[in-house]
Assembly symmetry: C2
Homo-oligomer: 330 residues x 2
């Protein structure tokens, strides 16, 4: 490997001068700068990131904590993060926590030994004390997609508005008995979506019917069960708003299995707009979250925090969702 010493020798200057010429922080005469650049080119010098990191105490590395890459919500966001990190010369390390706090702690620890510069966290749940501690230390971190209440940096979708728009749209299609198949209210974003749903009903003067709202639904299997329950009870339902696409997939399968048709008998609205849902039968009408852009925004925010001299005030960036109308709503 060619080091800064080789460059210095070739350019006939000291290593300090090379370092300064390269960083540009400290003035170096035009002439020597030219000599240095020439030597750098000729030798194809590439600074050793580890050495630099050791000296500076930072590694130009970012940690990304997610529950599981296989969850289809994440790949697009990861891509946004990765592209952005790369643009600014950072490298990103992916960590799958499986929603396991111990695993998460171990990851955080082992990355800190590598002098990681900051974290993007998509695993937030209430009661993650270790994250609060990290934040109190002033360690750079931003929440992505999921966040927790409080004064933290975060990038999320506008979950309230997305749910509100979706419900409004269902209402505008003449659908009145809109069931809600929702996730756990422990998670902030499901609370927000619930609020959006309620607000839209309220504005339409439709009372909330608790018989047809189901919470704590996770994944398509649960979605299937929730819908099956609804159908068994013979409740009047002409549309279902499932607050994530996997739930919607389960809901659709249940409706089909009960011999009914989507959207002729029951309309279904999803939330997320995962890459695959346009390929379903019928193609799913759903609220589109800008995952890629959320990844970009989170990464830029984190890098800004890392590179600032003083920690900027925490801010929550909320990106708008938009309806992606396909064919699962009549």
């Amino acid at each position: 490997m060619v080091t800064i010493k080789d460059v210095a020798k070739r350019a006939g200057v000291s290593t300090s001068t090379v370092s300064r010429a390269l960083s540009g922080n400290i003035p170096v005469s035009e002439e020597t700068k030219k000599k240095v650049m020439k030597a750098v080119k000729e030798l194809n010098y590439q600074p050793n990131v580890l050495a630099k990191g050791l000296k500076l105490g930072r590694s130009k590395t970012l940690g990304l904590l997610i529950p599981n890459v296989r969850d289809l919500v994440f790949p697009a966001a990861i891509r946004g993060i990765e592209d952005t990190a790369n643009k600014y010369g950072y490298t990103v390390v992916l960590c799958n926590t499986d929603e396991d706090i111990e695993r998460e702690k171990i990851y955080i620890n082992s990355l800190r030994r590598r002098l990681i510069d900051g974290f993007i966290i998509s695993t937030a749940r209430p009661g993650h004390k270790h994250l609060l501690e990290l934040n109190n230390e002033g360690f750079p971190m931003v929440f992505l997609i999921r966040r927790i209440k409080g004064n933290f940096d975060a990038v999320t979708a506008d979950n309230f508005q997305g749910a509100y728009d979706a419900t409004k749209y269902l209402l505008s299609r003449g659908l009145k008995n809109i069931a809600l198949v929702n996730g756990s209210l422990d998670i902030l974003l499901y609370r927000e979506r619930f609020k959006g749903y309620k607000k839209a009903l309220e504005e339409a003067n439709i009372p909330l019917n608790n018989d047809i709202v189901i919470h704590n639904v996770y994944g398509w299997e649960d979605g299937y069960k929730a819908m099956a329950t609804l159908l068994e009870q013979k409740l009047k339902v002409d549309a279902v708003f499932a607050t994530s696409d996997p739930k919607a997939i389960g809901v659709i399968r249940a409706i089909k299995d009960y011999g009914l048709s989507v959207p002729d008998d029951i309309s279904v609205m999803g939330f997320d707009d995962l890459d695959v849902v346009g390929l379903l039968d019928p193609p799913l009408t759903t609220v589109s979250q800008p995952f890629y852009n959320m990844g970009v925004a989170a990464c830029e925010m984190l890098i800004r925090i890392i590179e600032a001299k003083r920690r900027p005030k925490p801010m929550i960036k909320t990106l708008p969702c938009k309806l992606n109308i396909r064919s699962s709503v009549r």
Copy 2:
């Protein structure tokens, strides 16, 4: 941060002793070892990976080169890699190349500045000269999923056997006119799958009908077009073997759009068994690739290469595929 010096001071020994006690490579008396361990515990000492990496010239970091995380083939493999790397104390850096050689070269370069220990490569295509160079240097690398001809370390599925079994199965269901919707023959794995298909037909004494084999199909849109062409030509087809699930998805949509039914009119067989294809309508019968285990195997192979004193002989590990029978074949 607590350093090895702090530990040394607390234990009343030199840093060298601490280092030796910790690594275990060089004998240290039981008594001092105990003292050192005690100090380590009390101070919660975590060695600085960058410093160690700088000194040793290795970083305990692995690079993973894939075309795109959003391609559903990869998440499961990534997960396998990640879990394994983690188990051995390695960290993995994800790189999306978008099949762009320049991007790939830049990534490889920038990771080498970080003293990366090795690469897992899923982007192989013929004519990737820079990969050959890397290999000639003796740099640790293993191909995953895709590989190129030659004497390289690699982990792949048994593409020949998978395609052979799939075709056999279609034949066993009484399907005779089996169209093939295949990828580019530039890519080794599609050549293998083509061979498996031909072998099965041959054994059943069915001559290869080139009118119903289509190559160079990429993604679901192309799959749709390929199937549409077949249907337009009114060729006799009672089954389609699509050599990747996205192609199969396109094929199914085309069949439906032409007013026919899967599997009643035409059966469809896929290849990959992506996480979502069980949720399609009809659930896809497909050849299941053990992506997770392939990731695990590739990562273990790479780590073995990295940690060996002498580079072991290149080996190609081929994992079996198995048929996942659902409902798209009658």
